[in-house]
């Protein structure tokens, strides 16, 4: 059962455009993370959001955790070719088992 739905699955935009990626679930997570994965490499953690309604900024990237802790969004302002990659959201169920549930990812391509 896929617990985390990401949309869109693919996104191709021009440099300078803004974009938003969504991560939705019917389940509540104790925290949610966003990773970026480049071809041939492992996912790299960008941010962890823990509190419902929390907003975190990382340069041109803005992450928000939904009030009910079931969904999250990633907004990129003025996208650059260096932002190209696979963006994965992952929900942590909490407790001691460390079980991360990943979404299927959004493949972003930013063209110069």
């Amino acid at each position: 059962t896929q617990l985390l739905e990401q949309s869109p699955q693919f996104l191709s935009i021009q440099e300078g455009e803004n974009l938003t990626v969504y991560c939705n679930s019917s389940s509540v997570f104790s925290s949610l993370q966003w990773y970026r994965q480049e071809p041939g490499e492992g996912p790299v953690l960008l941010v962890t959001v823990v509190t419902g309604g929390e907003v975190k900024k990382l340069k041109r990237l803005t992450f928000q955790f939904g009030d009910a802790r079931k969904d999250s969004s990633l907004h990129i302002t003025a996208a650059q070719p260096g932002d190209t990659g696979l963006y994965l959201c992952a929900g942590h169920r909490g407790g001691s088992q460390g079980n991360l549930i990943f979404g299927k990812g959004t493949k972003l391509s930013v063209k110069p």
């Binding site: 104790s30 925290s31 993370q33 990773y35 994965q37 041939g40 490499e41 492992g42 996912p43 790299v44 953690l45 962890t48 823990v50 696979l86 994965l88 992952a90 942590h92 909490g94 407790g95 001691s96 088992q97 460390g98 079980n99 991360l100 990943f102 299927k104 990812g105 493949k107």
Partner: protein, 113 residues
């Protein structure tokens, strides 16, 4: 200075063979994981070890056997390889089993012919 390393990076083998993938982390973490990423980029947990003890064992064929000789190493042995085992396998580690931040290795691309 690599935090989580895996060997080999690429593995091409015939159906029916047995192969192993090794993982090492130098972060001093207690918990290590194996994930499988399929051709559609879906990343799914397979196993998790905390301080050499198995704590997560998802529905994985028993042809897959993880081994943790110490808390810095988690190896994955696969018997009787099948075509469907072709995927990228990622090792990851975290400070503890409840820690939300996981650090991933570069992956091992396994191709079964």
């Amino acid at each position: 200075d690599t935090a989580v390393s895996q060997t080999p990076k690429y593995l091409v083998t015939q159906m029916g063979n047995d192969k192993s993938i090794k993982c090492e982390q130098n972060l001093g973490h207690d918990t290590m994981y194996w994930y499988k990423q399929d051709s559609k980029k879906f990343l799914k947990i397979m196993f998790s070890y905390n301080n050499k003890e198995l704590i997560i064992n998802e529905t994985v064929p028993n042809r897959f056997s993880p081994k943790s000789p110490d808390k810095a190493h988690l190896n994955l042995h696969i018997n009787s390889l099948e075509l469907g085992d072709s995927a990228v396998y990622f090792c990851a580690s975290s400070q503890g089993p409840a820690s939300t931040e996981q650090f991933f290795g570069p992956g091992t691309r396994l191709t079964v012919l």
